[in-house]
């Protein structure tokens, strides 16, 4: 396989100037054809091993696009699905029935139990009730391989339940936040918090809106966030 000087520079994670200098000084194996130079992959890999240089072709690296980008939360909400009339009278029972109801996510029984345990563990540290009747339960450590992309499941409770929230108000809605990584988690959390800060949005949530209207409202918030300045 033939490589260009730019590809080699990328693979070595060095500026092109350095590779050009190495070519001039004869420190790197290359071939010249019609005033153009190119490199052979096999030869170069051997050379890199010989000099203990890190050498990764760009395509060999995990493509950042393949890993799900944190992106927008209305997509995450869509992925998670909406559940109404969740039973329960305290944190534990609410979370139990919420996790039991999760159908859109393909979770094994084992993972379901693990998820519940992690959620309760997190609640034991401090309540995820962020006030105004909203809670954002999430596992403290991202569940590995449980979800490929950030996912938010929305649960409307049948009756508002006590949740030890910071303002001691009973919680009527849960946003269960599952993310593949901490950075994605923080990204979604900050966006969700931005929406929930708005009182109008919270009273809108109290009306138990249909998924479509809720998604449209969140999308509008996000447009506002993504707008320059």
């Amino acid at each position: 396989m033939k490589l260009s000087i730019q590809q080699v520079a990328d693979a070595l994670d060095l500026p092109v100037e350095t590779v050009e200098r190495w070519v001039r000084q004869g420190r790197i194996p290359f071939q010249r054809q019609q005033d153009e130079i190119h490199f052979r992959l096999g030869v170069l890999e051997r050379w890199a091993v010989q000099h203990k240089l890190p050498f990764h072709l760009t395509s060999e690296r995990p493509d950042p696009k393949e890993i799900c980008q944190p992106g927008s939360i209305h997509e995450a909400l869509q992925r998670g699905g909406f559940y109404y009339d969740i039973e329960g009278s305290d944190t534990e029972s609410v979370l139990q029935s919420a996790v039991r109801r999760l159908r859109d996510l393909e979770l094994s029984t084992q993972n379901r139990t693990l998820l519940l345990a992690r959620l309760l563990e997190r609640e034991a540290m401090a309540s995820t009730g962020v006030g105004k009747g909203v809670a954002i339960p999430h596992p403290r450590i991202p569940l590995e391989k449980a979800v490929p992309c950030p996912t938010i499941c929305t649960f409307f409770l049948k009756h508002a339940a006590p949740y030890q929230a910071i303002d001691d108000k009973p919680v009527f809605i849960l946003f269960l936040l599952l993310s593949p990584s901490t950075s994605a988690h923080l990204h979604c959390l900050s966006r969700l918090a931005f929406c929930v800060r708005d009182d109008a949005f919270v009273s809108f949530l109290r009306s138990r809106p249909a998924p479509e209207t809720l998604l449209a409202r969140v999308a509008a918030f996000e447009e506002q966030l993504d707008a320059p300045n």
Partner: protein
């Protein structure tokens, strides 16, 4: 594209350039050998031509005229500096990948022929080295070889030339590795060995296989070996005197405001005057060395010491005042007389001890001076073994060479060839810190991910930029003409970061640092690092034409430095 000019592309050489280098080494070896023979023959004929006039009273004019002509030729015709050229070759090898001008392949041959042929006290070896290296360099350039290959061919040229002029292939090879290239690597050693052998063979075909200073076998006793240590100390002392007098003379002459040719002529005239009394000191002096080795130099200790001292003076006047030539032959001459004088002094002191003949001490003295002045003990040992055609003196030879070069190193840490380079910070041996830093250019280290801001920007406008940035430094540029004004550091902003009322009240122009030390994109990395150390900074802004071009930081430098070192030295 002419295919013949790109042999590295031929199928035969495509995957491994060792074969290519070996083939090129043969060509370079032949050319360097021919150059050496040309100078040798020219010297013989000029000396023969002028021999008839040596006894005339005005003969002292001859070295003056020769030196003046050689200086005029170098200065006016080929536009090259005086001196022997070896430091130039070493510098070109370490800094410019062995690039040497084509005219250097003959300029020093002609100038040194004029200087030495007319009677100046200098050697033809360094000019031949310069010429051989220039031939190697230009052959490499003709065939579009890269820097590493060119350096190898420069080495091949040196090895071929020394091999040919002394009829000593191993000395050529060892001299190249020890003095010119400063590294021993398998990739280099094979082509250089081949060039040394080729050069020697050319000289043997054209001149016959003559051992320069053949001699009888010596019977060396234990007492002689012990005496060698004393000889080595003497050699070291004389080497230091020779080095200092040559350099001191050059320094003093450099201050004189006279045309170069006139200075050379004055030096030459003084040498000529010395030559009237002691004709032995004139020229390269191989004839006299031969006498010293075979025991035909009959004069007593006092005369020998006088000749020795006068040779040092004559060499200093020839080379210091602008004549052209090397110090190899004078060193051999001086060495042989140090040995001779030492043996005579020993015989005086302990007449009953049966010391080995003075010829043996002359050989040892030669090795002692070469090892001392070049600080290249292996070159000294192998050169003497080869030019005298015998291994019988190898044990004392090794002792003298080792002790003399070590003793010299105590007093003069850098050898005669390298001293100028060391003084100017231009000695860049492969795999050393200075070399790695010299090779990396500033442009390769520039970090360009800084987001520029303008002095009129409000703090509120700056916050989103702060969110996007990966760095904690922000160059401030004039909005109109893009001039670099200063730096805003995150630390400068931090106290106001959470005070929302200040967002519209504070502009960056109030927060920026204006007294910022900067570096230029063409600065030497070693100076930049010194500056960082002096200022205790880990990064500095790079500014060209009053415009910010990027940051340079020690973190990136360490990463690149390490990789450069790994590429320059084999790690497996």
């Amino acid at each position: 594209m002419k295919l013949w000019r790109y042999p590295a592309n031929w199928h035969l050489f495509r995957y491994d350039d060792r074969l290519l280098l070996i083939c090129m080494a043969v060509v370079v070896g032949i050319c360097a050998g021919l150059a050496a023979i040309a100078l040798n023959r020219a010297l013989v004929s000029v000396l023969g031509l002028l021999h008839h006039y040596r006894h005339l009273w005005w003969a002292f004019i001859m070295p003056a005229a020769g030196a003046a002509l050689s200086s005029l030729f170098l200065e006016k015709i080929v536009n090259e500096g005086a001196g022997h050229g070896v430091p130039e070759v070493i510098y070109s090898v370490s800094r410019y990948g062995g690039l040497i001008r084509l005219r250097s392949s003959f300029s020093r041959l002609i100038s040194s022929c004029l200087t030495i042929g007319s009677g100046g006290s200098a050697g033809p070896e360094a000019p031949v080295v310069m010429s051989g290296s220039a031939i190697g360099s230009n052959i490499a350039r003709l065939f579009n070889l890269n820097d590493r290959q060119r350096v190898t061919l420069v080495g091949c040229g040196t090895a071929g030339a020394i091999g040919a002029i002394f009829n000593a292939p191993i000395a050529g090879m060892v001299f190249t590795m020890e003095v010119i290239l400063g590294e021993w690597s398998a990739v280099n050693i094979i082509p250089i060995a081949i060039a040394a052998v080729t050069g020697t063979k050319v000289s043997r075909l054209l001149q016959g296989n003559n051992i320069a200073f053949s001699h009888r076998e010596f019977q060396i006793a234990l007492g002689d070996i012990a005496a060698c240590v004393g000889l080595a100390i003497c050699c070291a002392a004389v080497s230091i005197i020779l080095t200092r007098s040559l350099r001191g003379m050059s320094r003093r002459v450099a201050v004189l405001r006279l045309p170069l040719w006139l200075k050379a002529a004055m030096g030459g005239a003084i040498v000529g005057l010395i030559g009237i009394g002691l004709p032995d000191v004139l020229g390269e002096g191989y004839h006299t060395i031969q006498h010293a080795i075979t025991g035909d130099f009959r004069a007593g200790l006092l005369v020998a010491t006088t000749v020795l001292a006068m040779k040092i003076v004559a060499t200093a006047f020839t080379l210091g005042w602008g004549g052209s030539g090397g110090i190899f032959a004078p060193s051999l001459f001086i060495g042989s007389f140090v040995g001779l004088a030492y043996q005579r002094a020993l015989t005086h002191l302990w007449p009953t001890v049966g010391w080995v003949e003075e010829g043996c001490f002359a050989l040892l003295g030669m090795a002692g001076i070469i090892s001392g002045i070049l600080q290249a003990p292996l070159t000294g040992i192998f050169l003497i073994v080869e030019i005298t055609g015998g291994y019988d003196v190898i044990v004392p030879l090794t002792i003298v060479a080792a002790v003399s070069s070590t003793a010299c190193q105590y007093v003069e840490p850098a050898s005669f060839y390298l001293k100028d380079l060391v003084d100017k910070g231009q000695l860049l041996r492969p795999g050393t810190d200075a070399r790695v830093l010299a090779d990396i250019r500033m442009g390769e280290l520039l970090e360009t991910d800084c987001i520029p801001v303008s002095p009129g920007m409000r703090l509120g406008e700056f916050i989103p930029i702060l969110e996007r940035s990966h760095r904690n430094l922000f160059p401030v540029e004039d909005g109109k003409n893009g001039r670099f004004l200063g730096i805003v550091h995150l630390d400068d902003v931090r106290p106001y970061l959470f005070k929302t009322p200040l967002y519209d009240a504070v502009v960056l122009g109030q927060l920026m640092q204006t007294q910022v030390e900067t570096v230029g994109p063409d600065d030497d990395l070693i100076d930049v690092l010194d500056k960082m150390d002096a200022l205790k900074k880990f990064s500095l802004p790079v500014v060209a034409n009053q415009r910010f071009v990027g940051m340079i930081s020690k973190a990136t430098l360490l990463d690149r430095y390490r990789r450069e070192l790994m590429v320059q030295t084999r790690t497996t």
